[in-house]
Symmetry: C2
Subunit: 304 residues, 2 copies
């Protein structure tokens, strides 16, 4: 059994490749919920949804998020009303948020709702929010403390960051099955997600970081950097802003406590010795999931 | 200035006719909010929306509610998820509920949100929810106490009713401008809406019934019955279930305290003497708004 700590798009692509070479029934994704937020009264869980749509074969492949062939009738009418349209919600995608919000209002947990949606859309792996309790990633910036989506989507992460905090960790408990999935896995994979924005909020839930520390030699992380740069998103900038080297060495420093092996791209092979010197094993492969063959090659590497 | 106590479809049609023969800037609609409810986390105000869409020229003329040319992408996807689809929400219509819910969450009042939406859609009259406070029409039935939409939409009002109650009236205050609109109007019109389900929840807001009593000779109501039957909806059945005559006489009895003049259809002319005997004036006309000419004729009658 494999457990994958997952953010959104990058994790979804790795998971989609994994299930082509490994029994999906043996794959467990523990998913970040620090990005979850309420807009228009709806509870939106971007990482859970991206993974759900991707594993259901319904994701918009071009963007990596949202549903393929979705339409924008509601957003267009909302724009006519002068409403908040900075977070794009397709008409079919909206159904997921309506369903989730209704069920949460009825007293269901996020885990239960996630399982219900996954079952309906025939997602073949087990999806778990890392916690059913409220968690919010807060970004301290030159403009003050920003909610995650304000920072990430509305301001397009074009902001200097002084700290990333996770609010709610004191009261948060791991969702049912999360600690067992970490304990029982033959391998724990950290997806090529943003270490600060996607993975740290997972580790911050009490018990999760300790569980990984206990399994450190079985924990393999995929570096989100390629050639010392982020393919997309603010991983490189955040390493710099937060005082780490902007390279896979910096990623290794962030993950040092919990990761036994770091997978880096061929273009970063020169820093492998420096990472090994930190007491971390290294594997070098193509980490860019530019096509299904490359994604499968990466999946094979994390399983090897 | 004219103030119209309004439910949904029937009131919207009368208002649409009124503004063709009277200055819209002088028309004030005080609208029922006892039907308002939360579904999928969204605050939905069916009567306000029906009037808004109708007066904005965007209503679905066939149904009388919802937006013309609307699509059903979200509802269809919600059905695939096993969600609650018994209350039909079109994709464009959804934008109204998203907008409202977001603004209410930001602290805006229902009056403010109503005004904002009406302004964006160029509604030419003044629309006021009767109250900004929570109000809920509850139907006591053979199946116990039902929420309004459960009774009306989900069970299609095919249920024996023992009482109609309005929850929240003790704490409710009239929305800003409502009492002034009743005080200052040269005429107060009660639209051909359901007396129990649409008008009573308006009257039940403290101060409103008294305001109408004070103006009784200037209050003119349009009977929702035609030929002793309801054109649509449960008005006739409710009169019977609640112990009133199933005729315009029964309507007159319901409205006796607050209405000086009842407008009845030609097909009900025979009961005019019995209504006059109750101390209420009667006007006889065609109350069926089957086409714009008939609707305008009715509008002229209530203004005369």
């Amino acid at each position: 059994m494999i457990t994958v700590l997952s953010g959104g798009v990058g994790a979804a692509r790795l998971l989609a490749a994994l299930v082509t070479i490994f029994d999906p029934a043996e794959v467990d994704a523990v998913v970040n919920v620090g990005d979850d937020f309420v807009l228009h009264g709806l509870t939106i869980c971007p990482d859970l949804d991206t993974i759900t749509y991707t594993l259901a074969g319904r994701v918009n492949e071009e963007t990596g998020w949202g549903r393929r062939g979705d339409t924008w009738r509601t957003m267009s009418a909302l724009g006519d009303l002068g409403g908040e349209t900075w977070f794009a919600l397709g008409d079919q995608d909206l159904a997921t948020h309506l369903y989730r919000t209704q069920r949460l209002g009825e007293g269901a947990t996020k885990s239960e709702v996630t399982r219900e949606i996954a079952a309906r859309l025939a997602v073949p792996i087990t999806l778990r929010p890392v916690t059913d309790d409220p968690l919010a990633t807060i970004i301290d910036t030159e403009f003050g403390a920003l909610d995650f989506q304000d920072y990430f989507v509305r301001r397009r992460h074009d902001v200097a960051v002084s700290a990333v905090r996770v609010r709610g960790t004191e009261a948060a408990r791991p969702a049912p099955g999360v600690l067992a999935a970490l304990h029982d896995a033959t391998r724990i994979v950290i997806a090529p997600s943003n270490p600060f924005l996607s993975i740290e909020p997972i580790l911050a839930v009490p018990g999760v970081r300790d569980a990984l520390r206990d399994r450190r030699t079985d924990v393999i992380a995929v570096s989100p950097l390629v050639g010392g740069r982020a393919l997309k998103g603010p991983a490189a900038r955040l390493l710099d802003d937060l005082g780490f080297a902007v390279s896979c060495e910096g990623v290794a420093d962030v993950y040092r406590e919990v990761v036994g092996t770091l997978v880096i791209d061929e273009s970063d092979a020169s820093v492998a010795p420096a990472i090994r010197a930190r007491g971390m094993d290294v594997r070098v492969t193509t980490t860019v999931m530019a096509n299904p063959d490359h994604a499968r090659a990466l999946a094979r590497t994390v399983l090897a």
